[in-house]
C-alpha cells in the first residue's frame, strides 16, 4: 500500500507534517510530526479510499545507549518513537505511522515528551496510550483518563525506557 506515490500524495496534502518515510523496511513506515498527527490520522480513517478504521497497536520504542562506547558508535541521537499500526477492514491493507519525540520534553530529565491523543479517533487507543504512558513514558494530551494501566498507580519510573532502574524497594518489598 504505502508506496512512494502514496507518500507524495500525503505530502501534497499535509506538507511539512509528513516528515519522512522509509519504504525499504520490511513494513514501510511514514513519519509524521507530532503537531500533524491528529489531522493525518483523521484523514487516514475517514478518506474512503484509505479507510484505516482499525488500530492494531501503539508501541513506544526508546532509543538510548546507556553504554558510552555504544552511544559513540550509534547512528542515531537518543529519542523516543511512538509507532502506530493501522489496518483497514474494508480494503484489508495496513500502514505504519511513526512519530519521533525527544526523550524528555525541553531536554529536562523527568518531563515526559508530549503527543496528542488519538483516542478520539479509535477507541483502541484509549488503553494502548495508557500502556505506552505507563511503560514508555509518553504523555498523551487530550486523553480522557491517562493513568497507569499495568504497573501500580504509585509506581515510579517508566520500565521500558532504556535508562530505567528497578527501584530498591517498593512497599517493603526488596526490588534489587
Amino acid at each position: 500500500m504505502a508506496g512512494a506515490a502514496f507518500v507524495d500524495q500525503l505530502k501534497a496534502k499535509f506538507g511539512e507534517n509528513i516528515v519522512g518515510a522509509n519504504l525499504e523496511n520490511i513494513d514501510p513506515w511514514i513519519e509524521v510530526s507530532p503537531a500533524g498527527l491528529i489531522n493525518v490520522c483523521r484523514h487516514l480513517r475517514d478518506e474512503p479510499s484509505l479507510a484505516f478504521d482499525y488500530l492494531n497497536c501503539i508501541s513506544g520504542v526508546d532509543y538510548l545507549h546507556t553504554d558510552e562506547k555504544k552511544a559513540a558508535k550509534a547512528e542515531w541521537q537518543p529519542h523516543t518513537e511512538v509507532v502506530y499500526h493501522l489496518f483497514s477492514m474494508k480494503h484489508k491493507h495496513s500502514l505504519v505511522l511513526k512519530v519521533i519525540l525527544p526523550r524528555w520534553k525541553n531536554d529536562k530529565p523527568g518531563e515526559l515528551p508530549e503527543l496528542p491523543s488519538v483516542s478520539g479517533l479509535w477507541s483502541t487507543a484509549d488503553w494502548h496510550e495508557r500502556e505506552v504512558y505507563d511503560l514508555s513514558g509518553v504523555f498523551f494530551n487530550g486523553h480522557p483518563n491517562l493513568r497507569r494501566i499495568l504497573c501500580p498507580e504509585d509506581w515510579v519510573g517508566h520500565p521500558l525506557r532504556k535508562d530505567y532502574e528497578m527501584p530498591l524497594e517498593y512497599h517493603g518489598i526488596r526490588g534489587r
Partner: protein
Amino acid sequence: MSTTVEDPRIIEFDVRTDEMLVNMGPQHPSTHGVLRLVLRTDGEVVSEVVPHIGYLHRCAEKIGENLTPRQWIPYTDRMDYLAGMNMNLGWSLTVEKLMNYRVPERGRHLRVLIAELNRVASHLVGMGAYGLDLGTFSPFLYAFREREKILDLFEAACGARLTYSYLTPGGATADLPRGWLQKCEEFLDQFMPIIEEYHALLTTNAIFVKRTASIGVLSPELAIDFGTSGPVLRGSGIDHDMRRDGEEIYTSMYEGYAFEVICQRSGHYPHDHDYPPVPHEAVLGDCWHRFYVRMLEVVQSVDLCRQAIDRYSTSTGSYGEPMKLMQKLPKGECYLETECPKGQMGFYLVSSGESIPWRARARSSSFCNLSVTNALCRGCLIADVPAIVGSLDIVMGEIDR
C-alpha cells in the same frame, strides 16, 4: 406526628437508590483470573464498569529486550497459557519475517496441525469456563475431559502439557514422534460426535439461551472501533480472519486448505445445518453469538487438523530445524499479527542488528477485547456482567503480559 400519605405514587417517586461502587474481583471466580472490576451501580443496574488490570504483569516486554528470540519463546507461552502453541507460532513467524526465512513445507503443515489442535483445546476451556460463569458446572468437566486428550498428544510431541515452547523460530524443536498422527486421528474421530453433546449441554439449553441471548450486544462499528478481534469480532458479523486476510508469511501456511471464515452471512453460519439453529431471541453480536462462533470454530479446526494430517504425512523433507540460539538478527523492524484462539495476537520486533532485539512488543488480543467491557456493560444488570465478561473469553496472562 402521623405519617399519612395521600397518594402512594408520591412515595414511589420519592424513594431513590443511591449509586454504589461494587468491587468484583480480583479473586472473583467469574473474572477469569486476577481481573478486578469496579462496578458503579444504581440498584441492580450497572452504569459503569472500570476494569483494573496488571495483577499478572511480569514485564515480558522488558525481558524480551534482554533475551534472544529463541530464549524468549518460553515467555510467550506464558502470555496466553491456554494456547501456548499459537503464541509460539506468532513470535516465531515474526522473527522469520524479519529474517526473510520460510519454513519448509513439512514444517508448515506441522505448524497448522499443532496450532489448530491448540485452538480446539483453548475453545474447550473457553466453553467450559463460560458454563461455570453462568452457574453450570458439568460442561466444564466435559470440556476438560477432551482437552486432557489434546494435552496428552502435546505431551507426546514436546514433553510439556501447558507451556510447550515447541514451535520456535526456524520450525519446531522436534518432529512428531512415530505413531503420533494415528493417535491424533483417533482422537479427532472420537471427538467429532462429542461436539453435539456440548451443543445439547449449552447451546440449546433454555437457561443458557436466556442468560446469553441479546445480552451485551456489540455492534460491528463498536467492535472495529475498539480493535476487538477473533470470535468477538466475528460474533458481531464481521468477516475477518487473519488466516485468510493476514500477511503472506502467515496465510501461505494455510494455502490450499479449505476453510470458511466463521461468521454470520445473510442469517446463516457455515456448517450450521449440522448444529442447532440460532434461537430467535439471539441478536447478532450478543454473548450467544460469540459463544456459537467459538463452537463452530472447533468444528472448523478439527477439519483443518484432518487436512493438515493428510498433507503432513505425504510431504517429505525437513520439518524445519530451530535457529541457532544466538542467531544474529538483521537490522530492521517488523510487525505481524496471527489469528490466535482469543483473537489477533501481534508481535512487533525492532532489531538493531544484534542477536538480542532492541524492542519486543506484544499486542494482546484479550487486552483490546477487554477494553470494550465498559461499553458493553453500561445499562445491564449486575448478574449479566459475568455473562458478558465470560463471553469475551479473556486470559489475564495475555492482558498483563
